[in-house]
Symmetry: C2
C-alpha cells in the first residue's frame, strides 16, 4: 500500500510527464510519440519505460500502447502542474516570452524544492486576488522592463 519511496530521476520525470501529455493530446501513447516529444530515439524510450514499469507507474503490453497506472497518473499530473505553474510564472509574472518560459520550466521543474514551488503558486494566487488585474506594481514592472526605467508617478486607474 505504501507508494514507492525513491524519487524518479529528472529524465524519468520527463518521460512520465510525456506519457500524460501524449495521452491527453492523442488518446493513445506510443513509443514513437514519446521519442518525438522528447527528442530521443525509440530505444531510449523503451529503456525509460522499462524503468517506469518497474516502479509501477505505467503498464504496457509487449509491442503495445503505454498506459499510466493510477499512481503514475498522480505523479504525472503533479509534474505537469509544476511545469505549467512555472511556465505561467515566467510568462505572466516575469514577462518572458512563451517559448523560453516553457523551456525554462521544463528544465527547472525537476530541481525546485516543493516549498519554493508552492510559494510560487502562492505568488501567482496573490497576484490573481489583487483588486486590480494585473496589479499596478506588476504593470509598473513590465513598464520598467520595457523602458528601462520606472513609470512616471502613477495616476491610479481606479482612483477613489
Amino acid at each position: 500500500m505504501v507508494a514507492t519511496t525513491a524519487r524518479i530521476s529528472p529524465s524519468l520525470e520527463d518521460y512520465l510527464e510525456g506519457v500524460l501529455i501524449v495521452k491527453e493530446k492523442k488518446g493513445i501513447v506510443r513509443v514513437k510519440d514519446l521519442a518525438k516529444l522528447l527528442n530521443v530515439r525509440a530505444s531510449s524510450v523503451v529503456e525509460a519505460l522499462q524503468k517506469l514499469k518497474e516502479r509501477k507507474l505505467i503498464v504496457q503490453q509487449h509491442y503495445g500502447y503505454v498506459e499510466l497506472t493510477p499512481e503514475g497518473t498522480n505523479v504525472a499530473k503533479t509534474l505537469y502542474e509544476r511545469h505549467n505553474t512555472l511556465t505561467r510564472f515566467f510568462h505572466e509574472v516575469l514577462g518572458i516570452d512563451e517559448k523560453t518560459s516553457e523551456e525554462d520550466a521544463c528544465k527547472i521543474e525537476h530541481y525546485l524544492s516543493r516549498e519554493t514551488f508552492e510559494r510560487i503558486v502562492k505568488f501567482i494566487k496573490f497576484i490573481e486576488t489583487c483588486p486590480l488585474d494585473p496589479p499596478e506594481w506588476l504593470s509598473s514592472f513590465h513598464y520598467f522592463v520595457k523602458h528601462r526605467k520606472r513609470p512616471p508617478k502613477s495616476r491610479a486607474k481606479h482612483p477613489r
Copy 2:
C-alpha cells in the same frame, strides 16, 4: 583569442564555482576543500579539475594548489552571481528560508536561461527602486503567505 565555445556541464560549473568560493574564503584552493564543499571524493575532484584544465579555466601544478585563469575567474564570477541572485530572489522576494533558498539556487542556477535570469535581476532591481522598501505589495504578499489571506485594506505607511 576566441573563448571556448562549448558550455561546461552543470557538474563542472559546480566545481568551478567551488574554486572561487574556496579561494575567497581561504586564499588557497586544495582538492580536499573542493571535495568537502561539493560532497564528493577527492578522486572525483581530480577528474573534474582535469576537465577544467583542458578548457583553460584553471591551472594547477601537480600535487599543487588550484588557481583560476582570468577566463576561469570570469566564468566563475558569473556563475556565483547567478547563484547569489537566485538565492536572494527566493529568500527576499518569495520569503523562503535561507537554507532552502540556497539549495534551490544551487540546483537551478545551471538550467535557467540567460534571459530569465536577467529578468529576475530586473525584478529585484525593480523592487529595490520602489519608493517604499519593501514595497507595500511585497509586504502584502508576505502577509498573505503567513496568514493565508490578503491583509486588511492598507493604511499606507507613507500617506501624503
